[in-house]
């Protein structure tokens, strides 16, 4: 109790230190005055009286020291002293401080970003009650995850392992909330979806299994909080309001809580509708199609006591029953369980990728710590005289080490803070980023407390790690020897572990620099490469006529009207139409084609797998695809005319052997239809991967291969905003119930460039980090070797060594490491570029620009890193040095 009270008083006292010093001074003065008066009364002379009084009082400073120790928190005061000292020392060498803080900021920032992603996507469970026992059921082989609706019903009703099974699938609809339809993304889910997940409505109600009474029986919409917030401005009267989903009347019955937006983490859901209304949502009914595996996922809680293995066995027995009953649709029906969320989708690729990223970031941090360690060792060597002097004056080694650790921790915490700040900005930015404009996909990476704690922990641990490097050096310091002569270091000739580490680091850096240069060059080249289309000055209008209720013959009629309407927009030079997807989109269609002579049309006999487009007559003109020979389509190429096609050169080469005689010849589709080639267009890029090899492609007339999905290519030199507005107005005049997505083709291409762009960016970032680490590593080593050998360099200069020789002596080893490391790295980088060629178009390291770029970059790095130590080595003044040391 007493000591507790004293503790608190001391804390208060630490803050009111000055007042107390003043009080003690006054008391001491009074004490001595009284004693002097006493002595005077005893008959001493005034001077002697005061002298005696002071003598009797004892050492004033010692008393003050004791008094202070008694009063305040001594360790805090010592800490504050150390802190002030460390700050002073760091301020005196701003270059060192900035390099050190930046190195650590990068390394810790990289870790925070990697951990933030790992935390958000893999470690953080889905935000639903009891997420631990929630499992996603998918096929063990062949298209994991997808299932047909009839199979779902069988699994749901016949399994004995799950409390209940829910199913869901993505849905894109035209949602009209009163002011015209707009595109909205959401889920169509089984009726029990919310009950299985344990989600309570935020407002109104959600739908249940009891709402399902056969196809199209439950026209209800549940909105997500985000959609309600942005589109209805938190209007609570929205419940029971009628809306139009693809022109079908639906009722809004409720809003989900803010933290729930579906079971697919990266997907910005707008709404949920019951899956029994699938026909109204998608335009065609697949609820009875057992072979149509359209459900995105099935999920449910395991019953208590049932292990995942038992559940899988249970599901598999149902599966083999399904195989027997429906041999036409099903084979190899086996199942596997996975966790909900992103961790296990794509076969756990995200988990693997992020774990790899985390490991890489950890390595970067370790390398950074090693570099900082050698920097600190160099500093400790520089300061050996200071340390020796302090030791000689009576400082304890403990206190000196404490000071050094304070310095190290100060740097690591500053680095951690800067790194964390940067990574939080980056993570927030990434969370907002939508890589694909037409899909509501973004990656929720917002950092939480876990990320902050990890960064703090990493900063502290790394501070202690590199702070511990010079400890042995300090403990071994012999003040007598150092003050008398000089540092007693000898330059080692042996290859040390630190050298190897640094060499490896330089090699890795060179690999990264090589790869990023290769990637950037490839990217630049792919921007200029022949795409087969001309995306500049073209606008894409993405619509789906089924969303506005068009069927059958109304579809081509409407498509024709749309083209004509677009042509009326002033400034538009040509308008084309392509069904399903345009080239270079995220999705594409292929079909197997056969030689005209093939009669057995089994898939294995196919001559080629061709990317397939159905296009309007003006398409080639509008898209900027050059017609090499033959003719394009006309509107007379309809259902009643001969089936015709325009193919690309690669198709002609593959099917007919050459391009020249291909026009006029026939080939077959898998249903036996004979198609005549009427024209040849140039080769281009078709899939969303610019690195693809030449692919056969065929274009069929839209009237012979109808499609309700409609993309208009509007070519005009008007500025995109103006054109977009005009196009939108025109479409609204035509049918204001038709939702559409309008953007420039250049923007649309972002999807196609995504992989190679990401590769270039991440390699660039890693290359920067590697470069930074190499610089600090070489800098630390060079600085250390220069300061260790100051005396030797002084003697060499005194004996007449030339600048070149001095530099060679001081920095020879650093340069050798740099050269070996860079050469190794360059070789490895050239090998690694073969891998890179898979994602980056024409990535080739055998490019003089890349090779010279790498050599130049590494030379610059070396120059940068050795600049300061070299200047120091050259400025050695033998006179001063020999006199001093």
């Amino acid at each position: 109790m007493r000591s507790l009270r004293r503790f608190f008083t001391r804390i208060v006292n630490s803050a009111t230190r000055r007042a107390h010093d003043e009080r003690l001074r006054e008391e001491i003065e009074e004490h001595i005055a009284l004693e002097t008066a006493e002595n005077l009364r005893a008959g001493l002379s005034p001077v002697e009286a005061r002298r005696q009084a002071i003598l009797k009082f004892g050492a004033v400073e010692a008393t003050k020291e004791d008094y202070r120790a008694e009063r305040g928190m001594q360790f805090i005061e010592i800490f504050l002293q150390d802190l002030r000292y460390a700050l002073r020392v760091l301020r005196k060498s701003p270059g060192f401080t900035i390099v050190a803080v930046l190195t650590l900021a990068l390394a810790i920032g990289a870790n925070a970003v990697a951990f933030g992603a790992l935390n958000a996507l893999v470690l953080r469970p889905l935000n639903v009650p009891d997420a631990q026992s929630l499992h996603v059921i998918g096929r063990a082989i062949d298209q994991p995850g997808y299932e047909s609706y009839p199979n779902y019903i069988d699994l749901r009703d016949r399994n004995h392992s799950f409390d209940a099974l829910a199913a869901d699938d993505f849905a894109q609809v035209g949602l009209d909330t009163g002011d015209g339809p707009s595109l909205a993304w959401g889920f169509k889910t089984s009726g029990n979806y919310f009950d299985v997940l344990g989600i309570q409505p935020y407002l109104g109600r959600v739908f249940h299994a009891s709402d399902e009474h056969g196809p199209n029986s439950a026209p209800y919409v549940v909105l997500t909080y985000a959609y309600w917030h942005t589109h209805f401005h938190d209007d609570r009267s929205v419940v029971d309001r009628m809306v139009q989903v693809n022109k079908h009347p639906f009722t809004i019955i409720g809003v989900t809580p803010p933290e729930f937006c579906g079971t697919f983490v990266a997907f910005n859901t707008d709404f949920f509708v019951p899956i029994v209304n699938q026909e109204q949502v998608d335009g065609e009914n697949v609820l009875d199609a057992r072979g149509n595996r359209s459900m995105n996922e099935m999920l449910g809680h395991l019953k208590p006591g049932v292990t995942p293995a038992q559940a899988v066995a249970d599901l598999n027995s149902i599966g083999s029953d399904l195989e027997r009953t429906y041999p036409k649709d099903e084979s190899q029906v086996t199942f596997a369980l996975s966790r909900p969320g992103l961790a296990d989708v794509f076969g756990g690729a995200i988990r693997t990728f992020l774990t790899g990223l985390m490991l890489l970031a950890g390595l970067i941090l370790l390398a950074a710590c090693a570099n900082m360690g050698s920097l600190f060792a160099a500093r400790a060597a520089d300061r050996s005289r200071e340390v020796a002097l302090r030791l000689a004056l009576g400082a304890s080694r403990k206190r000196i080490l404490r000071g050094l650790f304070t310095e190290a921790l100060l740097i690591s915490l500053a680095g951690g803070a800067v790194g964390l700040w940067g990574s939080v900005l980056l993570l927030r930015g990434l969370s907002r980023w939508q890589p694909f404009p037409e899909f509501p996909i973004n990656v929720p990476l917002s950092p939480d407390a876990n990320v902050y704690w990890t960064a703090l922990l990493l900063a502290l641990v790394s501070g202690f790690l590199f702070g511990a490097v010079p400890v042995k050096q300090i403990l071994r310091t012999d003040p007598y020897q150092i003050v008398k002569s000089a540092s007693t270091f000898t330059a080692g000739r042996r290859l040390t572990g630190r050298d190897l580490l640094l060499g490896a680091q330089i090699a890795i850096c060179a690999v990264l620099v090589t790869s990023s240069l290769v990637a950037v060059r490839g990217l630049a080249r792919s921007m200029r490469s022949n795409l087969g289309v001309e995306p500049t000055n073209a606008m894409l209008v993405d619509t789906d006529l089924k969303r506005a209720g068009y069927t059958g013959n109304a579809i081509p009629a409407m498509q024709k009207r749309m083209i004509e309407a677009m042509e009326e927009v002033p400034g538009v030079t040509s308008v084309g139409l392509v069904g399903l997807y345009p080239p270079l989109h995220m999705g594409w269609d292929t079909s197997k084609v056969f030689n005209d002579t093939t009669s057995d049309l089994r898939p294995s006999n196919a001559a080629a797998e061709a990317v397939t487009y159905s296009v309007s007559p003006e398409y080639f003109h509008a898209a900027g695809t050059a017609l090499l020979s033959g003719r394009a389509f006309t509107w007379h190429d309809d259902k009643n005319a001969t089936r015709v096609a325009v193919t690309n050169e690669e198709f002609a080469r593959k099917i007919f052997g050459s391009v020249t005689n291909a026009v006029g010849r026939y080939y077959k589709m898998s249903d036996g239809t004979r198609i005549q080639v009427v024209g040849i267009v140039e080769d281009g890029k078709y899939t969303a991967n610019l690195a693809e090899d030449p692919q056969p492609a065929m274009f069929l007339p839209i009237l012979q291969l109808p499609s309700n999905e409609t993309w208009l290519v509007v070519r005009s030199s008007l500025n995109p905003q103006q054109l977009g507005g005009a196009v939108r107005t025109k479409l609204r005049q035509l049918d204001k119930g038709l939702p559409s997505f309008i953007q420039t083709w250049d923007k649309e291409m972002n999807g196609a460039l995504f992989a190679s762009r990401m590769a270039a960016i991440s390699l660039g970032v890693l290359g920067m980090m590697g470069a930074m680490l190499s610089v600090t590593g070489i800098f630390g080593m060079a600085a250390f070797s220069v300061s260790k050998r100051m005396r030797e360099l002084g003697i060499r200069i005194a004996l007449g060594a030339q600048r070149k020789e001095v530099l060679q002596a001081a920095l020879g080893r650093s340069f050798k490491l740099l050269a070996f490391g860079s050469a190794t790295g360059l070789l490895l980088g050239i090998l690694a570029s073969r891998l890179l060629a898979l994602i980056v178009y024409q990535a080739t390291p055998r490019d003089p620009l890349v090779l010279s770029g790498v050599v130049l970059a590494m030379a610059l790095l070396g120059l940068l890193a050795t600049w300061i130590p070299a200047r120091r080595a050259l400025s050695v003044d033998p006179l001063i040095l020999l006199r001093e040391e």
């Binding site: 007493r2 009270r5 004293r6 008083t9 001391r10 006292n13 009080r23 003690l24 006054e26 008391e27 001491i28 009074e30 004490h31 005055a33 009284l34 004693e35 008066a37 006493e38 003598l55 009797k56 009082f57 004892g58 050492a59 004033v60 010692a62 008393t63 004791d66 008094y67 120790a69 008694e70 009063r71 030791l391 304890s396 080694r397 403990k398 403990l475």
Partner: protein, 128 residues
């Protein structure tokens, strides 16, 4: 012999000595204030010097950290007042808690002293 080992030993020896001194000094301060009522630092030092002989003959200053410690523990309180020669001086007085502490420590001390005393008076045959 590495320096720092020597240093830690010296440190701890010094610490022990001051602890003992502080303990006895504190008790003397309490008793002085109990007998004489509120007093300034010099008065306390004089009184202890008179009674204990040479304990405070040198290093009177060591008294002040002890006074501070006692004040922080709440055994004594202090306020500014005027000394005999009409100068500002800090006067210390015993608090209720200090009185209790003095009582307890006096008992403790007497008990210890009695035991130690008996121990020293004991003869060889008493111990066998």
């Amino acid at each position: 012999m590495p320096y720092f080992l020597l240093e830690t030993k010296r440190d701890s020896a010094m610490k022990q000595k001051t602890d003992v001194l502080q303990g006895t000094l504190a008790l003397m301060v309490l008793k002085t204030l109990h007998v004489l009522g509120p007093l300034h630092g010099y008065g306390i030092a004089r009184r202890i010097e008179q009674i204990s002989g040479d304990l405070l003959a040198v290093n009177q200053g060591t008294l002040y950290p002890v006074l501070l410690k006692l004040e922080q523990e709440g055994a004594i309180a202090s306020e500014w007042g005027a000394s005999e020669n009409n100068r500002r001086a800090r006067f210390y007085r015993l608090t209720r808690e200090g009185r209790k502490q003095l009582q307890l420590e006096t008992q403790d001390w007497q008990q210890t002293a009695a035991i130690i005393g008996r121990f020293f008076e004991a003869k060889a045959e008493d111990l066998s």
